[in-house]
C-alpha cells in the first residue's frame, strides 16, 4: 500500500531529518510575512473597539496564542499516543519537540490575558473556571517537560511522559467549554465554528492572519527542535556520521571557527 509506505518513509528519523530541514525555511517565511501583515492591520489599520478602546488590540496575540497552546497540546498528546501504542521513536520526539513551544504559548496566553483583564474587568486575575483550567494547562506542559528530563533513558522518559500527556488531554475540552458550562468572568465564545462571528470582519480577518502566523511559527520551531533532538538521540547512527562528515568542511567547522573567534573577542 502506497499510503502506508509513505508514512513508514517519514517515520524514520533518517529521512525525516532532511525533510524537516527543507520545511523550516518555508514555514518561517510564511510566519514572518503573515506576522508583518497581521501587525500592520492589527496596530495601524483596524479601528478601536467601541467599548474597550485600543486595549482590545491585545486580542490579536491573546486569541492566537491561546488557540495554539490548546491545539499544540492535542497534537502533542496525539503524537505521544502514537509513540506509546506503535512504539514509533519519531512520534515520541515530535511530542517532546512540541511541548516547550506549547508551554510558551500558554504563558503568553496567561500574560496577555492578565494585561487585557485589568483594563476590561478591573482585575489581572480571577479564579474562574476558564482561567483556572487554563493555568492547569501550563502545569501539564511543565509536568510533561519535567518528567521527560527527569528520566535518563529517552525511551522510558517518552513512555512515562506520554501517559501524562494523554491523561491531561481531558483538560483541553474542559478549558474550551468552561465558558459555556460555568458562569465565568471570561466572556463566552466570540468566534466558534457554526456560529456567526460577533466581531467586525476586518478585526476577525486580522486575528485569523495572526492565528496562521503563529501556526507557521509553531511548525517551524518544532521542526527546528526535532532536528536537534534527532541528532542528539541518533548520534551513534552511521547516517548522522556520514551526514556530518560530508558537511563538516563547510557548516560545522565554520561554526567552531566562529565560536572560537567569538570567544577570542570576549577574552
Amino acid at each position: 500500500m502506497a499510503n502506508s509506505r509513505f508514512w513508514l518513509y517519514f517515520s524514520s528519523p533518517k529521512t525525516f531529518y532532511p525533510f524537516a530541514g527543507k520545511l523550516v525555511p518555508w514555514c518561517a517565511g510564511v510566519a514572518v510575512v503573515l506576522t508583518v501583515i497581521g501587525l500592520y492591520l492589527g496596530l495601524l489599520v483596524t479601528p478601536p473597539d467601541y467599548r474597550m478602546g485600543n486595549s482590545y488590540r491585545i486580542i490579536y496575540i491573546h486569541v492566537p496564542a491561546v488557540w495554539m497552546s490548546m491545539l499544540i497540546y492535542m497534537v502533542m498528546a496525539g503524537w505521544a499516543a502514537v509513540g506509546l501504542i506503535w512504539n514509533v521513536k519519531l512520534a515520541e520526539m515530535m511530542a517532546g519537540a512540541l511541548a516547550p513551544t506549547g508551554a510558551m504559548f500558554t504563558f503568553i496566553g496567561l500574560w496577555t490575558g492578565a494585561l487585557w483583564g485589568q483594563p476590561t474587568w478591573g482585575t489581572y486575575w480571577v479564579w474562574d473556571a476558564r482561567l483556572t483550567t487554563y493555568l492547569l494547562l501550563l502545569f501539564l506542559y511543565m509536568g510533561f517537560i519535567a518528567l521527560r528530563s527527569a528520566i535518563d533513558d529517552p525511551r522510558r522518559a517518552s513512555k512515562a511522559s506520554a501517559l501524562l500527556a494523554i491523561v491531561g488531554a481531558i483538560n483541553v475540552p474542559i478549558i474550551y467549554f468552561s465558558v459555556k458550562w460555568w458562569n465565568t468572568l471570561h466572556q463566552p465564545f466570540t468566534v466558534a465554528p457554526g456560529q456567526e462571528s460577533k466581531i467586525d470582519p476586518t478585526m476577525l480577518w486580522t486575528m485569523l492572519i495572526m492565528v496562521f502566523a503563529f501556526w507557521a511559527y509553531a511548525i517551524a520551531v518544532a521542526l527546528l527542535r526535532i532536528r536537534s533532538e534527532i541528532l542528539e538521540r541518533e548520534k551513534n547512527a552511521s547516517w548522522v556520521a556520514e551526514l556530518l562528515d560530508s558537511s563538516q568542511d563547510t557548516s560545522s567547522e565554520d561554526n567552531i571557527a566562529q565560536e572560537k573567534s567569538a570567544q577570542g573577542d570576549r577574552a
Binding site: 479601528p47 478602546g53 496575540i61 487585557w116 485589568q118 520551531v221 527546528l224 548520534k235 556530518l244 561554526n255
Partner: protein
Amino acid sequence: MIWSSWSEFINMGGYAGFVWWSYGVTAAFMIGEVILLGRRRRTVLQRLARLIKANKHPKTTGTIETKQEYRK
C-alpha cells in the same frame, strides 16, 4: 492608518502599558525561542563533530569515554 501622530500611536488611547507589555513580552519569547534553538543546534553540531573526530583519530584526540560511546 488610524493614527494621526507617532505619539498617539505609542499612547494607544491610554492603554499603552497594557498593549505594549503584551506585544513586547510575546515578541521577546518568540524571538528568544528561535535564538535558543539556534544555539542548541550549534552545540549539538559541535559535539557531534568532536565525536566523529575522536573516532577518526582514536590515538590523538578524544577520551576513552567518547570513543566507547561512539562505538555503541
